[in-house]
Symmetry: C3
Subunit: 428 residues, 3 copies
Amino acid sequence: MRFKFSLMAIGLEVALIVLFALYVQYETEQKNVQQLNTTKPSDMDRFLELYPLFQDVHVMIFIGFGFLMTFLKKYGFSSVGINLFIAALGLQWGTIVQGILHSHGKEIHIGIKNMINADFSTATVLISFGAVLGKTSPIQMLIMTIIEIAVFSGNEYLVGEIFQASDIGASMTIHAFGAYFGLAVALVLYRSGLRRHENQESEYHSELFAMIGTLFLWMFWPSFNSAIADAGDKQYRAIVNTYFSLAACVLTAFAVSSFVGERGKLEMTHIQNATLAGGVAVGTCADMEIHPYSSMIIGGLAGIISVLGFKYLDPVFATNLRIQDTCGVHNLHGLPGVVGGLAGIVAVAMGASDKSTIAMQAAALGSSIGTAVVGGLMTGLILKLPIWGQPPDQYCFDDSVYWEVPRSIEHDHHLHENGSHNQLEPEV
Amino acid sequence: MRFKFSLMAIGLEVALIVLFALYVQYETEQKNVQQLNTTKPSDMDRFLELYPLFQDVHVMIFIGFGFLMTFLKKYGFSSVGINLFIAALGLQWGTIVQGILHSHGKEIHIGIKNMINADFSTATVLISFGAVLGKTSPIQMLIMTIIEIAVFSGNEYLVGEIFQASDIGASMTIHAFGAYFGLAVALVLYRSGLRRHENQESEYHSELFAMIGTLFLWMFWPSFNSAIADAGDKQYRAIVNTYFSLAACVLTAFAVSSFVGERGKLEMTHIQNATLAGGVAVGTCADMEIHPYSSMIIGGLAGIISVLGFKYLDPVFATNLRIQDTCGVHNLHGLPGVVGGLAGIVAVAMGASDKSTIAMQAAALGSSIGTAVVGGLMTGLILKLPIWGQPPDQYCFDDSVYWEVPRSIEHDHHLHENGSHNQLEPEV
Amino acid sequence: MRFKFSLMAIGLEVALIVLFALYVQYETEQKNVQQLNTTKPSDMDRFLELYPLFQDVHVMIFIGFGFLMTFLKKYGFSSVGINLFIAALGLQWGTIVQGILHSHGKEIHIGIKNMINADFSTATVLISFGAVLGKTSPIQMLIMTIIEIAVFSGNEYLVGEIFQASDIGASMTIHAFGAYFGLAVALVLYRSGLRRHENQESEYHSELFAMIGTLFLWMFWPSFNSAIADAGDKQYRAIVNTYFSLAACVLTAFAVSSFVGERGKLEMTHIQNATLAGGVAVGTCADMEIHPYSSMIIGGLAGIISVLGFKYLDPVFATNLRIQDTCGVHNLHGLPGVVGGLAGIVAVAMGASDKSTIAMQAAALGSSIGTAVVGGLMTGLILKLPIWGQPPDQYCFDDSVYWEVPRSIEHDHHLHENGSHNQLEPEV
């Protein structure tokens, strides 16, 4: 049935509107009457104060993740387009699921932190999307978004409310979780025919488009790690630590990329991804009093590990483990996320936090990875149900399966040699 | 005379400098002496508080509108370049015209809202620019900018000051106005030779450039709709309503695009434009207490209507009505702007505003469309005067008429087959 | 030794971490205890208030400078990649050098202004990078970054602390300094074989990528010129003056580009660069009470001078003076920076500042240019040492020397005809 995607998307939107009508309310200033004569800022002041940080996160989600994935020569429409679809769906669904969990089933009053957290929940799915990029249909992504955000919200509630662990930049709950969830899905969806697929290459300009994504992620990562931190010292430290961690990470990523490259050459994939690992890895302890130089050590190590992952782990994953990780999310989010979780444990052990304990932090890391793997495997099985359809191997990493593409892609870029993609295409 | 454009641009800048010397002043803190001992924020505090929202709007104007129009394979320089020219001219002229109207001829003190409104006034022209994109010369755009901003400011004054209608996100005064103004100009400038012009196609990468514009417009639309809202609850609601309206709009736009597409395929044009219709349509009532779920309904409907407009109305406009709407601004700004005006009437009827009445809102919608059509027709006639020159049909949608283009455009992209565009080109 | 770059980068990062451990501390709210009962904003409030301006500057550094340089058809990876490397290294090194100078050797407490100034110091190097773009190796850029930031910080300390001159937007200390430093380096590195190099051309889409850089620089320049201005009137004026100066500059740049162009055609190089000259030129007196119309005069003149520089000075520099200025930084930063310095002298002479004198301003301008030229010449000599290696002339402006490039660059774009770049390449 060719209208399946359309009907599911419309149906979901109607359901979301009903859920919003039932559960969601504005925040109102009336709640703050008692503050009128104080100098303490009201919720509304805080709303505008955090709004620029929210917008930075927003840019990371839609431009950052979207364009980071445009590196494939024939899959840019889907990267940036389905990214938009997932994020728009996810932020509505995330508002509901997280809101209900945190309000314990009562009304949800939309404040700036709800909006930031809604964007965060979509980040998890977009990370997983990177692992399966080019190998799934829009309808499968729609289903994965719904399931993954529910599982993510459950784990995030567990980590934050039950374990009371620190994870302000979400190294564990978003990055490690999103990566291992996506890898588990990719394992279930493994198809040997996709090994070294001719479409799985980049073009000169597609690499430049991807750098737009990289840079917006890189620049705004301090906002990501600090957006929901406590006002004052903690928020300040989250910004400063992330700023310096990322800077250190760039130097080590460049150094190692050239070190392991053929005749010292740099590789764009490393620069696009590993330069961001410092933002991931410093996430858990970003708001702690760890000293700027410690964040630089964390960032520097993350950059090294990430490049080495791309160089030496990716081939092992693709062949031996039968996990085809299109964007290498394991190296950008998985490994650095684990580094972040471990750094958090070390920081807590050294007394950088007065709120959390080693046990809580370890439980949070274990729970994030465990939930992700189990949730991802189950989601993969659901996505594999024949009812959703899957593109045949020869049409993977190819926009023309789901999009009208301009004629010029064939004519001008010589990307196709026999035009065969106009025949026998599966329906969306 | 080949120096006509240069001399007019320089002359205009000199005139603007004289007008600024006569009418424009800094805002000074001295005016706020009486507030020194209060906790009420001074104008200067409010300046910095709104500055991030201003910058978001700024990005929408220059990157958003500029790149949204780069989808044509051979007209990217003009799209993003003339967009910059129009906006830079328009913001100076808009500062003067709007400032004098609102200060009733007295001195204009430049505050952050003047800067936001100056940017807004350019948005109107840029929307109209989309309707005539590729078919007019820079000199014609210069003239249209001067005329349209004057007419726009008059209508905006009428709507806001005389009718006292609500239109915080300017669904009527900017979006519907800009669209119908541009369509009226396009009607007057109609040329049958441009039907199905070979240059009016996109390229694979030009579509990705356009997505940069789409996403920055999409992300920052909450700032657009809230930037000049009253501080506190209203500004907060304008942000929240727009955020959710846009998210809902994405789902319906994707759904309908696939629904009406051949074999369920998505179309980039729809995704680039219709996903933004929710921002337009929620504009008029964005700051009202309409409840988030209502904004999702408005956004969802706007996404549906916009895609249907692209699919079924555009061909009718181009052939039967003799209106060639290059960017489809009718579907992105025109129809959703009318939806926004009607939604405003319904919201006021249901008591969501204590300031406006149904009659005021209806008068505002009628005035915006009426003024736009009359102003656009007159402007079209002025632009058609032989003195300005017009590119002959075979050179339309082609940067090489007004720009030095790199040789590679012919050589590498095979966009030209006989190089004929190097001969017989009209002067700028 | 092919690992030279890697080892130097890693070694530098380790050294920076040690320096941070020794000299850098968090800023703490405890210092502001006495303010708790006042309405004066604490440092932390000011941190978040200025954070959006910092992020604007951040975008200018990484996206703005990075993409502005992607106009060359085969050098986009290096432009945006090495830009990232330089900036990430420079901001760490700049934090240390500027911090130690301003704290007179004591501990550095990282506040938002330190972060803004760290970004500023990288801008200087990135401007110089534009002059030598395509002709140097990553290792040479690493060395130039270290030297130039030290010299820059010395001059900036001289201008600000010793001369007590005004230069809020850094027309002299960043723009003129960076340009003349880079030109001096380019003079020393002159190679006649690079004259009219076939790789020194643009492509249609590379020009559009460059416009991304231009527009983000253009839009956020008001933040650049105001980010470290005194709170209140001065910061406000720096924003307003820059906003209008840039707008005026666009009109004159377009006018003159068409005026001097063949048959009235516009040139992308002018639009990408000269439209920004207004931001540079108004920098020195941006926070002074010069009236908006004066900033428009400054911006308008800068736009004219900049285009004329590109058209008539560049060829003279390249041939007669033996200075190959790849990006034309002399026309975007050098000349407009001098205009800015002179405008500052005039403004002070007319009483627009109560802090500075004509002599101080003149000393600042002379010092900035003098230090830059001497520093640049010495740096050029160091960069010319055979130990660092230099790409042979035939491989200049070519990413494939230092980067793995996708096969498609040859196949799809026909950029190479004989594939010779795969042989005999020098190591990084």
